[in-house]
Subunit: 421 residues, 2 copies
Amino acid sequence: KPLARRPIETWTKLRASKHARNTVNPIRKIADKMSVAPNPDKFPIKLNLGDPTVMGNLPPSQAAIDAIHEAVDSHKSDGYGLAVGSLAARQAVAEHASVPGAEINPDDVILGSGCSHAIQMSLEAIADPGDNVIVPFPGFPLYTTLCTPHGIETRGYNLRMHDDGLIDLVDLERNIDGRTKAIIINNPSNPTGIVFPKEHLEAILRIADKHRVVIIADEIYGNLTYGETDFIPIASLSPKVPVITCDGIGKRFLVPGWRLGWAIIHDRMGVLTDVREGMIALSQKIVGPCSLVQGALPKILRETPKSYFDHVRSVLKENADICYEAFSQIPYMHPLRPQGAMYLMVRIEEKYLGEETDLVQELIKNESVYCLPGSAFNIPGWIRLVLTYPPEITREACERISRYCTSKLQGDIPSINAYDS
Amino acid sequence: KPLARRPIETWTKLRASKHARNTVNPIRKIADKMSVAPNPDKFPIKLNLGDPTVMGNLPPSQAAIDAIHEAVDSHKSDGYGLAVGSLAARQAVAEHASVPGAEINPDDVILGSGCSHAIQMSLEAIADPGDNVIVPFPGFPLYTTLCTPHGIETRGYNLRMHDDGLIDLVDLERNIDGRTKAIIINNPSNPTGIVFPKEHLEAILRIADKHRVVIIADEIYGNLTYGETDFIPIASLSPKVPVITCDGIGKRFLVPGWRLGWAIIHDRMGVLTDVREGMIALSQKIVGPCSLVQGALPKILRETPKSYFDHVRSVLKENADICYEAFSQIPYMHPLRPQGAMYLMVRIEEKYLGEETDLVQELIKNESVYCLPGSAFNIPGWIRLVLTYPPEITREACERISRYCTSKLQGDIPSINAYDS
Ligand SMILES: Cc1ncc(COP(=O)(O)O)c(C=O)c1O
Ligand SMILES: Cc1ncc(COP(=O)(O)O)c(C=O)c1O
C-alpha cells in the first residue's frame, strides 16, 4: 500500500537524483574554476579544446559536405530509422571497419550519438553496480563520468609517462579482480598522443585472455597517426578475446559536432550475445543518431579521399614537431613525443614553475594561451596542448609560453596569488 | 583489497547488465511477435508507424531544408558545442516557446537528441530508485522504458477512454504518495489524440500543487490540433507549480529522424534549481544533439510559415474524419474522436472481433494493413491508427478493414489460429 503523502506547507527545493549528482565531468569542473580573463592585448589561443574545427583551417571533406546536402534533398533521411542505426549506415561502417582478423557485418554495428554514446551503451550493457572497469590514467575522463552514476567502479592503470607512454602492464593486471567486466584501451591515446605498437597490444590481449575480461577499445583516433608506429585495431590481433570497439566520425573526419559514432561488437564464441542484445535495447532510449548524418555516412566513409587524411596528419605532425622542439627548450618542461591523436603532453617541474593549475591560469592571464591541466585526466603536474591549430599560431603560442616561463624563472613575474589579492 | 579473480577454464557467455535487461520497449516486443507476412496482392499500408515522413506527402518545410544547407555551408556548426546546446539554438527555443505566464530564457532550455532524450534527462535527474512517477494509461510506453532500469516505479493513471479521453483525476490523485517525484502529462495525447481543455489542465495543476509534485509535460504534439480545443502549454496556467516541458521538432516540423528535442525548466521558487544542475550534468554524457540541426534550429523555428502548419493540420483533420466515419460504421468498433496529435484510437469488441492482437495480425495477413495494438500503450482491446497518410490511402485502409471485419462477422473467414496451424 502506498505511503500517504504527508501534507506539505510549501514547495521545497528538490534534490537532484543521486544518479545526476554522481554524473561529474572533471573537465567542466576545472574549466569552471579557471575562469580567469585573458590578456586583452593578446589574441586568445585555445589549445585546451579538443575540437579541430575551431580555427577553420581543417574543414570537413568535400565528400562529407556534399553527402549532407544530398541527404537533406533526398528526403530519405527525415524519418525515424532503426534505433541501432539504418542498415545502409551500418553496412558502410562494416565495410569501412572490417580488416583481416576482424571482419564484421552490419549486425555487429550499433550507431550512437557520437563515440561518447557508443561508450555509454557499451559500459551500461556490460557492468552492474559493484562491478568494475579498468581505465587508463592519464585518460579520457568520460569513462568514469559514465560509470560512477551506475555504481560501476573505475580503476586506473598507469601509463608510463616518464618513459614511452605505454601501459604499465603489471599495474593493469594488478587491478583485475572477480568483478572486473572490461578493460578500456584507448589507442591512439588522449591525452598522450601515444600509439601502441603491435607487441604491446598483443601483451594486453594476453592479459585479457588470461583473466577472461572483455576489452572496450576506444579507437576514435584510429588512423590519426603521423609517427613510426602505425595504428592497428586491437580486435584484429586476437581471434579469442571479445572486443567492443568504439569509434566515430568526429575526430578522423573532423566533424565532432555532427555526433555520429558507433560500437562494433567483435563477439567471440558467443560471449557477447547477451551484451549485444542489451546494447540494442539501450539504443532504443533515444532512437539513434541524426538521420541526416546517417544518410550521409556511406558517402563520407567511401568517398573521403586519402589525400584528406594525409593533409590532416601532416598538420598534426607539423604542430607536434613545433611543440616538441619548443617545449624541449623551456627549462623544467618535458614534452612527451606524440605519434597520433591530436595532443601533446608536457610535464611541468612544479618546484620551479609552480602548480600546473596555477601555471595554466597565469598563461591565460598574461599570454592569452589556454592549455588543459593534466588534473582533468588524472595526471596533475602535466598540461595538454592541442595540435590542430595553424602551425604559425601554434608557434606563436609556444613562444608566448616560453617567454612567460623564462621571465617567471628569472623572478620577473609575481605568482598568481599576488594577482588575485 | 580486490577479490582475486578465480582462474577460468574457458570464456563463458556474459550476462548483460541488469540495467540493460530492464530496458524494455514494448512496441518492439509486440512488433517482434507479430512478424506475419502481408498479403502479397495488396500494397502494404503501415498505419502502425508514428512517422509522418513515410509516404513523402508531408515533407519538411522549405525553411528547414534551407536551414540545414546553410548550416553545412557556414562551417559554424561542425564543432562541439555546449552539451546543453548552443546559445543561439536555446535562444531560438526560448523565443519560440515563451508564452504569457511561462516566459523563459535560454538558461531554462536544455537540448537533447529528440524529445525522448529530453524526457530521459528529466526523469533521470528527478527520481531515485524507489521513487515513483505517475504516467498515463494508455500512454507512450517510453516513460516506463526509461524509468524501470533505474528502479524508478511508474504508476499508471487512467484516461476515460469510454467517455471523453480526459484524465480520471481521482485515479491520478490516488496514485500519488510520499515517493512520487513527478506526474507526466502528455497533451495532446499519444495514442488518443485527445487535447486537454483549460479547466482540465487547471484541475491537474491543483492536484500537483496540493501534493507538491512536479509536472513533466510531454508536449511534443503541441499545436498539432485540428478540433475545437486549442492546445495550451500547461506551464502557462500556473505561476506556482514547477513544470519541465519536453518538446522538439520531430513531430510538429515533421523531421523525427533529425533527433532534436528540448526540455524547458519552468522553475518556480527555486524548486528545480538542483534538478536543473542535474540535467546539465546528464547532458554531458553524450554532448548535445547534432550541431547541424542545432545550427539550423533558429531558422526552422522562426521562418517556418503558418501555412505549413495549417496544411499539416488539414491533412490530419481530413484523415481523422475519414477514419472516424468509417470506424463508426463497422459493427463492434468504436472510434474515439481525436482533436490533435497524429493518431486515432478504435475500441474493438473482442467478443465479436477477436482479440486485438489477433485482429491486427489478421489485418496484416489478409489486407496488408498495419495497425498498432493498444497493448503497446497499456490498453488491450484497442488499436491505434496513424493519421498522416494521403487521405485516399487512409480511405483505402478503412475500406479494407471494414470489408475484412464484415466478412469475419459473417463467418466467411476462419480465425487466425486456423491459419497458424
Ligand atoms: C578518447 C576519446 N574518446 C571518445 C571521445 C568522444 O568522441 P565523440 O565526440 O564522438 O563523442 C573523445 C573526445 O574527445 C575522446 O578523446
Ligand atoms: C508522446 C511522445 N513523446 C515523445 C516522443 C518522442 O519524440 P522524439 O522522436 O522527438 O524523441 C514521441 C514519439 O512518438 C511521442 O509520441
